[in-house]
Amino acid sequence: MGTLTATLTLNDINTFSDVLNFSTSKALTTTATSQGLTTIGVTTTGANNIIQSATDGQTRYVFVRHTGTTDGSTSTTETVNVELTGDTVFGKLAANEFCFLPVGGHSAGVQLQSSSGTVQCEYAFFTKG
């Protein structure tokens, strides 16, 4: 269906004694279904904020970003949990943080849950081909 090039770069010149500076990149072959970059107002009930439905075991590459706002303009410091459906938390994003990871090999989907109020997030996912 298409090829994604996903790149992670980590850089730090002064926290540790050794400079951290590396980049890793992978061309990912994808197939249907994909979800382009989408915004969602994440609330405090994860089951109401399912961003990727349950799978039949496929691997999906999932990107999630906390926009640091409640609505695209009003700042917030509330965090957002990234969860498997069924309320299994596996990560917590603070304002402007993001994650990119494969989800799959099981039937669970992915949902988001704010610590309080509404937090606007961006997400996208792509199915491994």
């Binding site: 298409g2 090039t5 730090d12 890793t24 990107f63 596996f90 603070a94 993001f98 990119f100 090999g105």
Partner: protein, 147 residues
């Protein structure tokens, strides 16, 4: 100020009719602050030859770090397309990293065995796995058993 900056780029010219170009960058801060994370496991590379599940990062002794804000990088360096590692947290499987795949995610460990990150190779014929955590967790290394 000392900070680690993480950048993720996701690009595609043929996925849809519209070119995809996501490019995000963020400093890695301690939870609720603008202070950079100041501890790291360093970049580790392992050659694993068993399908036994293992914990790539030190196991939390019991002190809670649930409010902290670590970051984790894991990559499968295999070049055989069918080989993968399953990454989980606690008893939950997150997903599979196939050959060359990597992941970047937040991690807030709680207590030992509750949400340890776990890796399970799909084959015992040997593959390289790379991983690193950047964090500010307290007391995560096990006590020495030496007398």
């Amino acid at each position: 100020m000392a900070t680690t900056t993480a950048t993720v780029s996701i690009n595609s010219s043929d996925l849809t009719d519209d070119t995809l170009s996501i490019n995000v960058s963020k400093q890695c801060y301690k939870a609720g602050t603008t202070l950079g994370l100041d501890q790291t496991t360093g970049l580790n590379r392992l050659y694993v030859t068993a399908t036994t599940q293992f914990d790539p990062f030190p196991v939390v002794k019991g002190a809670t770090n649930a409010a902290e804000n670590g970051k984790v990088y894991i990559a499968n360096l295999s070049t055989t397309d069918t080989e993968y590692i399953t990454v989980g947290i606690g008893d939950a499987v997150i997903g599979r990293l196939y050959a060359g795949d990597w992941m970047w995610m937040p991690w807030s460990p709680k207590a030992q065995h509750v949400n340890d990150i776990e890796i399970t190779p799909s084959v015992a014929t040997g593959m390289h796995v790379e991983f690193m955590a950047i964090h500010n967790f307290a007391n995560i290394y096990p006590d020495s058993a030496d007398s």
